[in-house]
Amino acid sequence: MNDTAVLRQPFVLRFATVGFIVFWTILAAFPLLWITLMSFKLPIDAFASDPLRVIFGFTTLRERGGLSVTALVLGAFALWLAYHGAEHHGRRFARYLALGGREWLGWLLAALVYVIALILGLFWILPAIVRVVEAILSHIPVLDYLARPMMGLTMQNYRAVWIGYRFYDNFINSMIVTTGTVVISLTVGTLAGYGLARTRSNVAFWLLIAALIFRALPHSVLVTGYLPVFIHSREFLAPLWNWHATAWFFHLFSDQPPTLYGQPLAVIMVLVSINQPFTIWMLRSFFMNIPAELDEAARVDGCSHLGAFRRVIMPVMWPGVITTGLFSFLLAYNDYLVCSLLLDAQSQTMVPAITSFFNRETTTTDQVQAVAAAVSITAPLFLLVIVFQKQIVSGLTQGAVKG
């Protein structure tokens, strides 16, 4: 648009905009920032009612040491670099690593490299630099204040969670469940979304309405219904293994019907189903915006429906799929109800594992550790949104927001 006089914003409007944005930024980020601060303190500081004590952690500083102004400034700079790098160069880097044109491989490798670089940078390189700078500063009068520790910090909560409680097991379980849910959810949902977008029958309409009502069902009711079936699945499924028409097929998988309780695959199927209504609605409205003429032209050229889907639709569907996939990811990654009830300790994911720190007999130490675990699990979410935020917006722009 031209920069005409009409478009120039009056001062009041600009002032109000900036003011509102600052207000909303604080509102959005403050609770999270605060618990992040808490997670680096000893319990006695973390739950203190004096905010200065939570920020500077006097007891923590005395007993465990802390960070100097220099370290804080350098740390903030390093975090900014990490953010900037992921946001601006993440995609290019992923494309660069996409061996043989396989984009998913590129993303995977890029994420791996990034995480390793991040850990190396934050835990080895950064401390080394900080130490050198501090050593130099401490010999200069006045400036040596910048090198003195002033903000208490301890990693003991994180160490307890990740090493003491083997949180990495839960991390791996979370990854299995989340990846499985996203992949299956998108595969099944893309087909259904496409089918629904290209039919005008009433059946399709009522199917969508039914899906909507399914989405409205309280999850706790569904999940509590699954528990007995999952635990007794061996008895429930026995007919399938015994009936001669199906027996040969199921015996390919195992000699006995499985106990579904504690099986990640079973939980993945539940999460996929619970998430299907939202997924097919999103993807349907996305496919509706891809002109039907495109695949009709392909069909005139002799492609089947599936062929047309593969040749014409698949190459252009990625923005919509990525956006929908992110919503699936959030659902599976943040799920508490399904995982806590249907998985056992060996296959438990991160969110339920955290709440087990808040058990009936928790001490404040447990609580600060829970906070540390909570902060840890939000880190991958950060990364995901930083890298994909442009895709979220562009996927929505092309899909849901038009339907």
Binding site: S49, R234, E235, A345
Partner: protein
């Protein structure tokens, strides 16, 4: 595929758990345990794991999973941790086995008060007791020259004096969170007033004089508490004590250890323990005795049961109790109670009753927990509250088949 996942899981678990020498035998039968996850269970399960091939599920949903998982055939867990209340569904469903033969074979170290007997058969083995007893700030009581209260009238007097002194934010703390917690406090006081919860044939009997007295006392006590008392669970009250915000509380004995933890507590060495106050002068302490213990599933092979029992015995042996003596009040041979157990001993000596767990009591506890807050917030009168608790109980008990 299922098979390979299971195999991988088993393999990883087997390699991950170190087989220590601290266990008297090498366990070769794969076992799984399910229990609550508080500190005592953490200590017991890690002692069990030293025998090898033991996987533990310390689950916040164990109440929901345990009855179902033990009813499966074969049972999904061999060893199940229980307490007074959680033993009830397992007994009702008949999913745990009598332990007498196993005790004869492997249970030489057990003391007679550890055996939970139903109809002459030992169904569970208790490992610890827990009850709510008075914890108070010795320094404040000394400074104001107040004697340790013996009954709740004295608690009110003491609270009044402490409030006047302004030494702490609130004189009293209590686990009055709506739901299970406040129901438990109600039951403690109600039993303290010698109230009867049930009449004949599971008919409710709390619409009584003792019921009204209990509610009135709870209301009077709440005047001295943090106004957010209806959200206060044990952890919250424990923190209030640790941070020096309250001067006394009738709190779970298993929380006593936390008062002396230097990393958390600002009142190290200042907390005294005493018997739970009685509801009226001269009455027995208004608190109920709880226990935690171990049961063995029925739907498993005898070989598994043997191994499970032996492992369980290793979990609750003297060595474990000595190494973790701060966790709770162990019932295990060789455990010597320290100063933190004084409140429990005094309460038990003065005749604190066991918690009257039963199927009907479970329904009652839920009805009380949802009903009492209406009185505390002033929505209903004492009589109306008790009447609606009885109504709620009747609806639940009829659905359960306890009432006709």
């Amino acid at each position: 595929m299922m098979k390979s996942i299971t195999a991988a899981l088993l393999l990883s678990a087997a390699t991950a758990l170190p087989a220590h020498a601290a266990c008297a035998f090498k366990n070769t039968v794969p076992l799984k345990t399910i229990s609550a996850g508080f500190q005592a269970w953490k200590s017991v399960t890690s002692a069990m794991q030293e025998c090898g091939n033991v996987q533990s599920d310390m689950d916040q949903n164990f109440q929901e999973k345990e009855p179902a998982a033990l009813a499966a055939n074969p049972a999904l867990y061999q060893i199940a941790g229980v307490a007074n209340e959680t033993l009830v569904p397992l007994l009702n469903d008949g999913t745990i086995r009598p332990l007498d033969a196993l005790i004869k074979k492997y249970g030489g170290q057990l003391q007679s008060n550890q055996l939970i007997k139903i109809n002459g058969k030992t169904m569970a083995i208790a490992m610890d007791v827990n009850l709510e007893n008075l914890m108070y700030r010795k320094d404040i009581f000394e400074k104001l020259n107040i004697a340790v209260p013996k009954n709740y009238d004295e608690v009110l007097d003491a609270a009044k004096k402490i409030q006047k002194s302004g030494l702490v934010q609130y004189p009293l703390g209590a686990t009055y969170q709506s739901g299970w917690n406040i129901a438990n406090e109600f039951v403690n006081l109600y039993l303290g007033f010698d109230g009867k919860l049930f009449g004949d044939h599971n008919e409710p009997a709390i619409k009584s004089e003792a019921g009204v007295k209990t509610l009135k006392m709870m209301k009077a006590l709440s005047q001295y508490m943090d106004p957010e008392y209806l959200t206060a669970d044990s952890t919250y009250v424990q923190r209030q004590l640790q941070e020096g915000k309250i001067a006394m509380s009738n709190l779970w004995a298993s929380r006593a250890g936390a008062m002396e933890n230097k990393q958390e507590s600002q009142v190290v060495g200042k907390i005294g323990m005493a018997a739970a106050p009685s509801a009226y002068p001269g009455g027995k302490p208004a608190t109920a005795v709880w226990w935690d213990g171990i049961t063995i599933a029925k739907n498993i092979t005898d070989e598994q049961a043997d191994a499970a029992f032996r492992v369980a015995m290793e979990g609750i042996d003297t060595e474990m109790a000595k190494a973790n003596s701060e966790d709770v009040i162990w019932l295990i041979k060789g455990y010597e109670p320290g100063p933190l157990a004084e409140g429990v001993a005094a309460s038990a000596d003065a005749g604190a009753p066991p918690y009257p767990a039963s199927t009907a009591m479970g329904v009652m506890q839920t009805a009380i927990g949802n009903g009492v807050p209406d009185f505390m917030t002033g929505k209903k009168s004492a009589e109306a509250t008790l009447a609606s608790i009885e109504d709620d109980y009747r609806t639940g008990a009829k659905e359960k088949g306890l009432l006709q």
